[in-house]
């Protein structure tokens, strides 16, 4: 009988205690503080050295024993920008010796790697490959049974290889192009052509001024560019993705300075701008 009384008293006391105790289920959270991602790893290889290793076919970078290093490590400044959609799943990084396209299988990379951000790439287990003769750094995937260069497979793999260094933004100065600088050593670099204009401005089909790309059908278009001060032996084209936000804009038909990433595909040098601010055409055209 006493036992029962204790039980009853116990229930009432417990009930009272539980009801009066403060709310313990938490639905509020403190903000996470801003933080700077910065690696302390240093480069041991220049980008030009890395590109020189490429044997002309897909090549895995773990076979580096002759370097007596644990990995090839490069460091460069991001010069590309996918915010306007003209770059897709890759960043171009440049050091004093050259530049390379690092393929990352991820979109909206500008959220992570702004122009001018310094990054370090730990290359062990990555692959070198090429697309139309332009060397790329990335991973590999099987395309209809054939291994080809591809992007690093999402954040999990990317964060094993690509590290931000510091949080200061120092954009690189573009390389002023001359005919002699238009060579494979400079593929991938941020370059600038002066006194330049788009060669053909009117579509023979529609009779209207061209747009940068085919926005409706999402087709990439090359427009030849010419300069009136230099004579380039190879053709150079302004290449714009049909997915870029400015694809549907009418081209700037004037003359001036154009900045972009120098890329290469099977004998053609291609200039890819990051946004329309890279096209600074304000002068009158010269006669083609």
């Amino acid at each position: 009988m006493n036992k029962i009384k204790y039980i009853i008293a116990g229930i009432i006391i417990t009930a009272g205690a539980v009801l009066t105790m403060p709310s313990c289920v938490d639905f509020t959270y403190d903000d996470i503080e801003p933080r700077v991602d910065s690696t302390s790893i240093n480069a041991n290889t220049t980008i030009a050295e890395l590109k020189s290793i490429y044997p002309g076919e897909l090549y895995k970078l773990s076979d580096t024993s002759f370097y007596l290093r644990d990995s090839i490590i490069i460091e460069g400044t991001v010069i590309s920008d996918d915010k306007e959609g003209n770059f897709y799943k890759s960043i171009f990084i440049e050091d004093g010796t050259g530049a390379i396209e690092v393929k990352l299988n991820k979109t909206t990379l500008y959220n992570d790697y702004k122009r001018g951000q310094k990054v370090v790439v730990y290359c062990n287990d990555m692959y070198l490959g090429d697309y139309g003769g332009q060397i790329q750094l990335g991973s590999k995937y099987r395309n209809n049974g054939v291994w080809e260069i591809s992007g690093l497979e999402g954040d999990v793999i990317i964060k094993k290889h690509v590290f931000k260094k510091g949080n200061s933004i120092n954009e690189r100065t573009p390389l002023a192009m001359t005919p002699s600088l238009l060579n494979p050593m400079n593929i991938g670099r941020l370059v600038q052509f002066n006194n330049t204009q788009i060669k053909d401005t009117l579509s023979p089909v529609t009779g209207k001024t061209y747009t940068y790309a085919d926005y409706v059908n999402k087709v990439t278009i090359n427009h030849a560019i010419i300069t009136n001060s230099q004579t380039y032996t190879s053709a150079v084209v302004l290449r714009t993705s049909g997915f870029s936000k400015f694809a549907g804009e009418t081209i700037n038909t004037k003359n001036g300075t154009i900045t972009g990433i120098l890329t290469y595909y099977n004998g053609t040098y291609q200039l890819i701008v990051r946004d329309l601010a890279d096209i600074n055409f304000t002068n009158a055209r010269f006669q083609n």
Binding site: I8, V25, D30, T108, V156, I157
Partner: protein
């Protein structure tokens, strides 16, 4: 319909003129322990539609029983049901009955009606897969099995959606006018005061309603009918919540004619059964009743159950395998070391009900009710702008997406998902840092809160009238005015400074036309901050009126009834934002949609003997569509779906009942045909590369099957329960689909034939059975175990895959055809439950301790349903990247409850 109304009025008038005085049958019920009168006891004449409830003095009267032999049940939750067979004559006073307390005092806790998962809102418009509350375990063995044994398997009685069951709280219809869902969660945690219920199966007639196709339930919380006394209980469990504390006190009807009931509870968990699901639910209830004299009583009831909880999200088999759990929850991630759930639901609906109970004379009773409620229903969700999908189980983040990569890479991805919570869960740190790094701190990631604020006013009258002894007429009228404002606000900018209120998909596709991307064209490019409305803002207006009557005619051998109802429903949308895509069709009042509906039903009972009876019911009814399924894209525009109209339903059932002292059983066969239904789904379509709204019309369905339930007393201490449902719920037509682009409203495909004839109604087992045994010791303890079996459950299907367009180019005998079109079925399963309990009495204190274990064998791979992701690529003719997602029943869970009553 007018003709039905007319005949109803004629019957009414004739009946009034023939009204004569008569002598009802009377009786009283007491509590065997205390000798106090027991209010709220349901007194049911078995085999008839005659039932009543005892008043505050434990008294009852029953009108209109012809002389004869009957079985009478006295039912009150928490007490053992008393059953007696009597030879009844007119005006007789029945012997006084004393009910003794049942050992399982808190049987309702056995129900599992709180599993709520939220899938991505874009996958299905309903968004939620919630199991509504269940039928009370009434005296029907089959219904007990549904409540206690079948609910973990998402069993739906006869395969009907929950909106076909009508729910009343003290006379107020409480199904949500916008969606039709029964609002059980509005009084979650108020189990003590909501236990007086009256339920009807299927289309059988009820006293309080014309009834829905799937039955009707009336919850009666009148203070005078609440059991006098105080109750305190504490429960510990490991389900959606881990602790429950409940307190209730009722005065009973006091000398001065008033009765007062108060109840409150809290249910909470820092983490429920599923990881990252926290839970905090409070509830209060206040009931007052004043009895002025024997003719008039007035009752006021108010209650609210504010509930906040982190939701469980569904994922794919691949993610489950990687995470090592079928209860993997992609909704949460660590924030400063704490688990933060991105999908938090908050809901509450303060409700006020005023009743006037008016007994005009012994043969005519009228209950008038006014109800008002204002509720809010909020669900948070991540949103993002031009940034990577933050959901950890997004298909591009799982190894299978990378099948063409190096196997080493796939292994690394799998290892990371298995071991690194920044990979397998939401990476809040990444979201914050991305916002901090965004130019001028424009948030790339936010948590938004999608809100529905509702207000509803209801009025109802329910009358019970015995014009002549052999006739009982129930009838009533109810009206409802509802406004539901739907909008979203910024809940958390996650470190950023603002969010730009534009539609990013439109911005991407129509960069040249910035007006088009505006969600609020009158305030373009608005920078919104925390708490600001954005995205969409509209009000759902739903008004309805309903008139019904059921006349019962009672004879010695046969009872008949006939019922009609007529209703009017109107709804329209009021836009509060001018949307850039629909500048002329988004703001202000839309056109009113109006529907006249009716229903007729009838049936007969053949009382073969007082212990065997056979009854049959038939019904034909039409039903207006619900607001939520009627607009193609209610968030942005006024357009209704093609073919919007009322659905038609024909239904019949035949029941055989047996009641002997040793066996109570029911066997039922039923057949229901649904015609001209419409359905709406919204999802991302890979073929059109845009969000689409997929509407289907001309949907017909046939539900048919058998139900069986029996309770067999093998000995005074041992009871065996058996129940089985064998059904076939199938589509019986080939619906026509219209596909519209969500953000532009343009029609992408019209009148696409969807080849789903003979597909199964998803997400309910079409076969379910249970067998239970229970030992009740005379020394106040008991033990029971139940074995349950489920089969023939199919998952919800993506209609777009069942079209000719989806199969273009595939040869007749290409095996991929079958692979694409077949409807996936989940494996059969069995579950074992057990419970044990004891109770003590010390003077007037009652203590009970119950311990229940559900899924005793800890079967964690029991799929209770699921849905196909609608993303399907016609060009690749595969949805391999978007495999189905499944619901799983919880593994082994327990529920311990300690209660004290005095």
């Amino acid at each position: 319909m007018r003709r039905f109304l007319l005949s109803f009025l004629v019957i009414l008038t004739l009946s009034i003129s023939s009204a004569i005085a008569q002598s009802p049958i009377k009786g009283t019920v007491k509590d065997s322990d205390t000798g106090n009168p027991l209010p709220g006891v349901t007194v049911q004449v078995v085999g008839t539609n005659l039932a009543t409830t005892t008043n505050a003095k434990g008294e009852f009267t029953l009108e209109g029983i012809p002389s004869g032999k009957y079985v009478i049940d006295y039912i009150l939750t928490g007490f053992k049901t008393y059953e007696v067979e009597l030879e009844i004559t007119e005006g007789m006073v029945l012997p006084e009955v004393s009910l003794s307390r049942s050992l399982v005092d808190d049987g309702q806790n056995l129900t599992f009606g709180e599993v709520t998962v939220s899938s991505d809102d874009l996958e299905s418009v309903g968004g939620d897969q919630s199991i509504s509350g269940l039928l009370q375990s009434s005296q029907d063995a089959f219904n007990s099995a549904v409540s206690f044994s079948f609910s973990p398997a998402r069993f739906q009685v006869r395969g009907y959606d929950s909106d076909y069951s009508l729910l009343y709280m003290n006379g107020v219809p409480v199904n949500d006018p916008e969606s039709g869902f029964a609002a059980w969660s509005s009084w979650g945690g108020l189990n003590d005061v909501t236990r007086n219920r009256e339920s009807r199966n299927g289309i059988t007639p009820a006293d309080f309603s014309f009834g829905g196709l799937g039955g009707a339930t009336y919850i009666n919380t009148r203070a005078s009918q609440q059991r006098k006394g105080t109750r305190v209980s504490y429960a510990a469990t490991n389900r959606t919540y881990t602790n429950r504390l409940m307190f209730t006190h009722s005065t009973g009807l006091m000398e001065n004619g008033t009765a007062f009931t108060i109840s409150g509870s809290r249910r909470w968990a820092n983490e429920g059964y599923v990881e990252g699901t926290n839970y905090d639910a409070w509830a209060y209830f206040i009931g007052l009743e004043k009895k002025f004299n024997s003719n008039h009583s007035v009752a006021f009831t108010t209650f609210n159950a504010p509930t906040k909880r982190g939701m469980q999200g569904l994922s794919t088999e691949e993610a489950h395998i990687l995470a090592g759990s079928n209860f993997y929850n992609p909704n949460w991630g660590f924030q400063n070391g704490e688990k933060r759930n991105a999908r938090v639901r908050f809901q509450q609906e303060p409700t006020f009900i005023l009743n006037h109970f008016w007994e005009i004379n012994p043969n005519l009773k009228i209950t008038n009710t006014l109800g008002y409620s204002f509720g809010t229903y909020q669900t948070t969700s991540l949103n993002w702008y031009d940034a990577q999908d933050p959901r950890p189980d997004y298909y591009r983040k799982l190894p299978n997406y990378w099948v063409d990569s190096d196997t080493i890479v796939m292994q690394e991805l799998a290892d990371a998902f298995a071991n690194d919570p920044t990979v397998s869960q939401i990476n809040w740190d990444y979201l914050y840092q991305t916002n901090y790094n965004s130019p001028d701190f424009r948030s790339k990631y936010i948590v938004e809160n999608r809100i529905t604020d509702s207000r509803q006013f209801t009025y109802s009258t329910i009358a019970t009238w015995n014009p002549i002894p052999a006739m009982k007429v129930n009838g009533g009228i109810d009206m409802s005015i509802y406004k539901g404002r739907n909008y979203k606000v910024i809940d958390d900018l996650l470190g950023g400074a603002y969010w730009l209120d534009i539609d990013q998909f439109i911005e991407r596709d129509f960069f040249n036309n910035p007006d088009l991307a505006q969600n609020d064209l009158d305030n373009p490019n608005r920078m919104v901050k925390e708490g600001d409305k954005f995205g969409y803002d509209y009000t759902a207006n739903v008004n309805s009126g309903n008139l019904w009557a059921v006349a019962n005619y009672i004879q010695n051998r046969f009872d008949y009834y006939f019922g009609v109802n007529a209703s009017y429903t109107e709804f329209w949308r009021t836009g509060d934002m001018r949307n850039g895509r629909f500048p002329n069709d988004s703001k202000g009042d839309s056109k009113k949609q109006q529907f006249d509906n009716y229903g007729v039903k009838g049936g007969a009972t053949w009382k073969i003997t007082g212990r065997h009876y056979l009854d049959g019911n038939v019904a034909f009814l039409t039903r207006a569509p619900f607001f939520r399924n009627s607009y193609i894209s209610p968030r942005t525009s006024n357009f209704v779906i093609p073919g919007l109209g009322s659905e038609k339903i024909a239904s019949a059932d035949l029941n055989y009942n047996i009641r002997t002292p040793y066996i109570k059983a029911r066997a039922t066969a039923y057949y229901t045909k649904f015609m001209d239904q419409t359905e709406l789904k919204s999802f991302y379509d890979d073929t059109y590369r845009t969000f689409v709204n997929y509407t289907m019309r001309n949907i017909d369905k046939v539900h048919k099957g058998f139900e069986f339930g029996a309770e067999i007393k093998v000995s005074p201490t041992i009871t065996v329960n058996a129940a089985a449902a064998i059904g076939s719920y199938q589509y019986s037509s080939r619906p026509l689909a219209t596909v519209t682009q969500d953000n532009l409203g343009s029609v992408l495909a019209a009148d696409q034939v969807v080849y789903i004839e003979n597909f199964y109604i998803p997400n309910t087992p079409q076969t379910a059975a249970s067998l239970g045994i229970r030992y009740a010791s005379p020394k106040y303890w008991f033990f029971g175990a139940t074995f349950n079996y489920f089969n023939d459950s199919y998952i919800d299907f993506a209609p777009g895959k069942r079209t000719a367009e989806a199969l273009v180019g595939l040869e007749e005998n290409d095996p991929r055809r079958a692979e694409i079109t077949r409807q996936p079925k989940v494996e059969s399963a069995y579950l074992v439950d057990a419970n044990i309990g004891k109770s003590w009495r010390v003077k007037n204190y009652f203590i009970n301790l119950n311990f229940q274990v559900a899924n005793l064998l800890d079967k964690t791979d029991f799929k209770t349903g699921g849905f196909e992701q609608a993303r399907y690529s016609i060009s690749e003719q595969t949805s391999n990247n978007f495999p189905p997602k499944f619901f799983y029943a919880y593994g082994r869970t327990y529920y311990v409850i300690l209660g004290l009553r005095f």
